[in-house]
């Protein structure tokens, strides 16, 4: 991560004079030398030693997290009976924490201690192991509660994601684009997921760093980071395809085999998980069968559009039906995501001659997956996976990107409350 991280090569950006204390030269020139600067606090020196991209990411991450924090505090005040650990263990977070604690089931459906537990109707095999593996490892080292560790881990990976996005943007269009890209991701409402026990933090950090490594033609590193990504979320397949496209082009054009290392290594993460699932359950297709239980089918958004129509065309009756408010909120959030995607079109058109192959292929495959599966849909959380989109938008209109970012930052709090309430992230 560090070797491909943004800011490598520029480090602190601090002028040399401020870093190097004045030295007394032999020959009596000490009197003319400027007085040594006052000693700085250790934390300030440590801060200045951080790469510029990491420092900027840390600042915007901290500022934007205030909206999330305020939302959590507000929700807890309104729902004092709901514990923080219960709030953190909702939706997919429950499954990740469970896998981190107890590993995967020996069957498709998990065993339950109460027959009324609805979780038995679903499957833990739909969740890839990268994130729960990290959470489990940190939990064993610290012995802190798993739910707390899960949120802390994803928060840290959220920061690393911003740093990597900064690097990708900088690679694409310079320092200003790097900063605007990181700010856009930090303020994008879906990034509130970095404070939920979800795998997005690890996945996005790995996939963005892998794209950066592909851009810099560091094939082995790209492959290793790709392996982390494919072990973390099934959407890592988009990275494999992007790495494969780059390798195919290099093979055809230059007869160069080494780029093939990136897609081959990238497959290792998902491959290891599928092999483990086969060994553990005896079913080589256990992941696909788990997806069936979660009703994850490729339907070209048919079900999502149907839900939008039912929610919006039959207002206000639909809002008052049982579960109607939840459906309406989900639809509105997805429509927000779809509108953001639409805003991307002019950016792609303007930048069409500058789109690098790995970023373009990765973004295209990610979009096909998002728009193809209704169960995923255009939720702000899932759109985060289209990392290059943030870079392109920032490169197209850096100033507008910054303004848009600060304008939508309060939505981080709104989405946090919706997720804590009843809307699936």
């Amino acid at each position: 991560m560090v070797t491909v991280g943004p800011g490598v090569g520029d480090r602190t950006g601090t002028p040399a004079a401020t870093r190097t204390p004045a030295r007394t030269r032999p020959g009596g020139q000490a009197r003319s030398a400027p007085p040594p600067p006052p000693p700085r606090a250790a934390w300030l020196r440590a801060w200045e030693r951080l790469p510029e991209g990491l420092r900027y990411s840390l600042v915007v991450y901290s500022i934007t997290r205030v909206f999330v924090l305020v939302a959590v505090i507000g929700y807890q005040a309104a729902n004092p009976r709901e514990s923080l650990s219960h709030s953190a263990g909702k939706w997919d977070g429950w499954w990740y924490v469970r896998i981190a604690q107890s590993g995967y089931s020996e069957s498709l459906r998990p065993p339950v201690t109460r027959i009324t537990d609805w979780h038995h109707g679903y499957s833990d095999w739909a969740f890839f192991p990268g994130y729960p593996l990290v959470v489990g490892a940190v939990q064993r080292l610290t012995t802190l509660p798993t739910g707390l560790i899960a949120v802390a881990v994803t928060t840290v990976f959220g920061l690393l994601t911003l740093w990597a996005v900064h690097g990708l943007g900088r690679e694409f269009g310079g320092r200003e684009v790097g900063r605007a890209s990181a700010l856009l991701v930090a303020a994008w409402p879906g990034s509130a997921i970095f404070q939920q026990p979800y795998s997005e933090g690890l996945f996005l950090a790995a996939v963005t760093a892998a794209l950066l490594a592909l851009q810099r033609e560091r094939w082995v590193l790209a492959g290793l980071l790709g392996a982390v990504a494919t072990a973390t979320r099934p959407s890592g397949v988009a990275l494999v395809v992007a790495a494969g496209a780059v390798a195919a082009v290099r093979l055809l054009r230059d007869r160069e085999w080494r780029p093939l290392l990136a897609p081959v290594l990238s497959c290792a993460g998902a491959g290891a998980f599928l092999a483990y699932g086969w060994w553990r359950t005896g079913d080589p297709m256990v992941w696909r069968h788990a997806e069936n239980l979660w009703v994850q089918r490729f339907d070209l958004s048919h079900k999502m559009l149907d839900t939008w129509a039912q929610s919006l065309l039959h207002l206000p009756r639909s809002a008052h039906a049982p579960g109607g408010g939840q459906l309406l909120a989900t639809s509105l959030v997805q429509i927000l995501g779809a509108l953001a995607l639409a805003a991307l079109v002019p950016a792609i058109w303007v930048l069409r001659r500058r789109l690098a192959l790995p970023l373009a292929v990765y973004a295209a495959v990610s979009l096909v997956m998002i728009l193809g599966y209704s169960a995923v849909g255009t939720r702000p959380r899932t759109l985060l996976a289209v990392v290059p989109a943030f870079v392109w938008f920032a490169a197209w209109r850096p100033r507008a990107a910054r303004i848009a970012a600060w304008a939508m930052a309060p939505l981080l709090g709104v989405l946090t409350v919706l997720w804590l309430w009843r809307v699936t992230p």
């Binding site: 498709l108 459906r109 609805w118 395809v241 082009v249 055809l252 297709m285 292929v361 495959v365």
Partner: protein, 161 residues
């Protein structure tokens, strides 16, 4: 992107999208429940085998009538029913004869299979996959459920699974 690279890049992208579409349309559950009894409430999905069809459907109709609920069901061979459960079909209960197909689904059940009785000497079981399926399976063991099963050719009560 240079013109020399456009063609292989397009080929690669097309192949990727095709592979993705194929993977998304992978094998789905075998049996598609088609018969619906009841009009209100959340659906309980039941898969059954042909020899017990009439008896179990009589139980289904009595269950939904008394509770204001809905049951969606399908009929298949024991292998089809077991494969649907193993392939991740959204199912609440299955009716299967004793044998390898019942053994295949045992670790997918929320509770032990409940005996229904025998048809032509073969014992049949109501195997609950979810709690809702268990409620239906337990209904088949009530005096009302038993009398309906007996009226449609299911004899005896078997032993607990």
């Amino acid at each position: 992107m240079t013109p020399a690279l456009r063609r292989p890049a397009r080929l690669a992208a097309t192949a990727a999208v095709a592979a993705l579409l194929c993977s998304g349309c992978g094998p789905g559950p075998n049996l598609m429940p088609r018969r619906t009894a009841g009009t209100t409430g959340r659906s309980t999905i039941v898969l059954m085998v042909a020899p017990t069809r009439a008896a179990v459907l009589a139980g289904v109709d009595a269950f939904v009538k008394g509770r204001g609920s809905r049951i969606v069901s399908a009929v298949g061979t024991p292998a089809e029913v077991a494969t649907s459960v193993k392939d991740g079909a959204v199912v609440d209960a299955v009716v299967l004869p004793s044998g390898p197909d019942l053994d295949r689904v045992r670790n997918e059940l929320v509770a032990a299979p409940l005996p229904l009785g025998a048809v032509a000497g073969t014992p049949y079981w109501a195997a609950p996959v979810t709690y809702r399926g268990l409620v239906f399976a337990q209904f088949l063991q009530t005096p009302q459920g038993r009398s309906l099963l007996h009226a449609h050719g299911v004899t005896g009560s078997g032993t607990a699974g």
